[in-house]
């Protein structure tokens, strides 16, 4: 690799610390002090895990552009010097105040962070969609570097970067504690509503069923990914799952038309919950409920798990394997679950029109499904080309922004207790 590439991050086009250390050193000497801001982007690793490294690369490009645009218009514009770690997902900003201006205070940084978070998140949603934007969070740590001729300057600068990084981490931890408390409040007040995302027949685009997605009424709990992550850390998975199931089933009775199916996400861990009982679920017609189990979660006690599945199957419930093909498990483990539906992992659908290996894999899955009497669902279909491709490969059902825009075409069930909770984009059936 050309050494110039080590001096500038190719995705964000920002200089790296190595490339700017001379000008930073000069700034500290001339001005006497500088402020280092460390931007810690939370959950970008999750984006990479779910969608793959190409997607995170693309999200980082958007992030870099949005940050540049925002900071360029901010009060820090005249002093900014922004750098990135090459190929990493954190950013550093050196704030060098002008001679007659004091350095930004903590309060100013907090205000700036709020604006920045909003600007970057809006841009990520515009380019990459709501699901990725909902994962996004940012914590900004601040450190002051004061010139001291007794100390080696580079060392002071690197210490400052570390200090700012630590400050951002402690903010993240504090925020985490706040989120746990928000989750407890959500559970106590049953503050959840459901968005039903349509799944349509590929050829006719007629609605076949809906996937229930839980949204917390509190802003911090809007993303199901975030809610479940917090629940897993605080041992509240069963409680959260119970509430999500109850709400999804309540809404089903009110909103779903005859023949339409409800696709409900269930964590394999839920099968160990004694209250997840086939006889106590308030479902009138189990044949209209499809239980989605993700392939991502390892199942420890396989025979026992299959036994529980059978109890549900005997009552008429159907099963879908979610995120199928995401891991290296191959088709054997999917066959073991005897699913009625196979939901392809989103990374297989993204740009499938341009990748022949993805096309080959999806074709294999469709053949496998046809041999086993199952139906394949392609989720995350966002572009016409992707839709045309999965259609030509024989995929039975489709879900995604191309066929139905999020929110506007989803059906939302808001329980009476939450009727007054404002939602950014009002959903219409």
């Amino acid at each position: 690799m050309d050494y110039h590439q080590l001096l500038r991050d190719s995705l964000t086009r920002l200089p790296t610390v190595a490339a700017t250390i001379d000008s930073i050193r000069k700034a500290v000497q001339d001005r006497g002090e500088i402020v280092i801001l460390y931007f810690n982007f939370d959950r970008y690793s999750k984006v990479e895990e779910v969608y793959g490294w190409e997607k995170l690369d693309s999200v980082l490009e958007t992030t870099g552009e949005a940050m540049r645009a925002f900071l360029g218009k901010s009060p820090l514009a005249s002093s900014k010097l922004m750098v990135a770690f090459p190929n990493d997902d954190d950013f550093i900003f050196f704030h060098v105040p002008q001679d007659d201006t004091p350095a930004a205070t903590d309060a100013e940084i907090t205000e700036l962070t709020a604006g920045l978070k909003e600007a970057v998140s809006t841009e990520i949603e515009r380019v990459h969609g709501e699901d990725i934007a909902a994962l996004f969070d940012i914590f900004v740590g601040r450190a002051l570097v004061v010139y001291n001729p007794k100390l080696r300057l580079e060392r002071q600068i690197y210490r400052g970067i570390r200090e700012a990084a630590n400050a951002s981490k402690s903010l993240e931890h504090r925020e985490q504690a706040k989120k746990v408390s928000d989750l407890r409040e959500t559970l106590r007040d049953r503050g959840l509503y459901i968005e039903y995302h349509p799944i349509v027949v590929t050829d006719s685009q007629k609605v076949f069923g809906y996937e229930a997605l839980a949204r917390g009424a509190l802003r911090s709990m809007r993303s199901p990914e975030v809610m479940f992550e917090i629940a897993a850390q605080s041992d509240l998975i069963w409680d959260l799952s119970r509430l999500c199931r109850d709400r999804a089933i309540e809404g089903m009775a009110k909103l779903l038309k005859d023949g339409e199916l409800l696709f409900m996400n269930v964590d394999p861990a839920d099968f160990a919950d004694p209250s997840f009982d086939v006889n106590t679920l308030a479902v009138k017609d189990p044949t209209r409920v499809v239980i989605e189990i993700t392939e991502r979660t390892a199942i420890k006690d396989y025979p026992k798990f299959r036994g529980r599945l059978k109890e549900f199957r005997d009552k008429g419930y159907r099963f879908a394997v979610d995120d199928a093909g995401s891991g290296y498990a191959g088709l054997g483990s999917i066959a073991n679950l005897e699913p009625d539906f196979i939901k392809l992992d989103i990374s297989l659908i993204n740009c499938i029109d341009q990748n022949f290996i993805k096309q080959n894999l999806v074709e294999t899955m469709v053949r496998f499904a046809n041999e086993h009497g199952a139906m394949v669902i392609a989720e995350g279909v966002e572009r016409k080309e992707e839709y045309e491709m999965v259609k030509s490969l024989g995929v039975h059902l489709v879900q995604g922004f191309f066929v139905h825009k999020p929110s506007t075409n989803a059906v939302t069930y808001r329980p009476p207790a939450l009727a007054s909770v404002p939602v950014a984009q009002e959903a219409k059936p």
């Binding site: 190719s10 793959g52 490294w53 380019v127 990459h128 969609g129 740009c351 022949f356 572009r383």
Partner: protein
């Protein structure tokens, strides 16, 4: 620069006989071909020639084809536009899934028939954006 229908192609194979058969066959079909015999040479040629499509053998001493593919696909300036066709038998789901993780776009099974190699190459060349010498960038959604 080569015409759009025949953009520059890089052939990477440690077996010189194989590499030359492919080169001669594709040159006869009008493609400008560069050959590299190992991973290091491949990366050097990649930056010099800026090929639209790379035909990459997997089994090579030193850096294998998977490593080379990943490096090419993550290359800061050329990674987004190049199309990489792995020359290997990807016989099951797991292998194909691994190939995707490295960023590969297509594969042709080994031992291959030359006509199969040509059709595989052509379907990738068709996805090369005009005037760039490289393939289409990863599509992003605009709503």
């Amino acid at each position: 620069m080569a015409d759009t229908a025949h953009p520059p192609i890089l052939v990477v194979d440690d077996n010189a006989d194989n590499a030359h058969i492919i080169r001669d066959y594709l040159e006869a079909r009008g493609y400008p071909i560069t050959v590299a015999y190992n991973g290091d040479e491949a990366m050097k040629a990649f930056e010099e020639v800026k090929p639209a499509v790379v035909l990459l053998d997997v089994m090579m001493p030193g850096r294998d084809g998977w490593q080379v593919c990943r490096e090419m696909k993550q290359h800061p300036t050329l990674g987004k536009t190049v199309r990489v066709v792995m020359v290997t038998a990807l016989d099951d789901w797991v292998n194909k899934r691994q190939a995707l993780q490295t960023g590969a776009d297509d594969y042709v099974e080994k031992p291959f028939e030359l006509s199969k190699l040509a059709t595989t190459l052509e379907r990738n060349v068709k996805l090369v954006a005009p005037n760039t010498g490289g393939a289409q960038a990863t599509a992003t959604r605009s709503r």
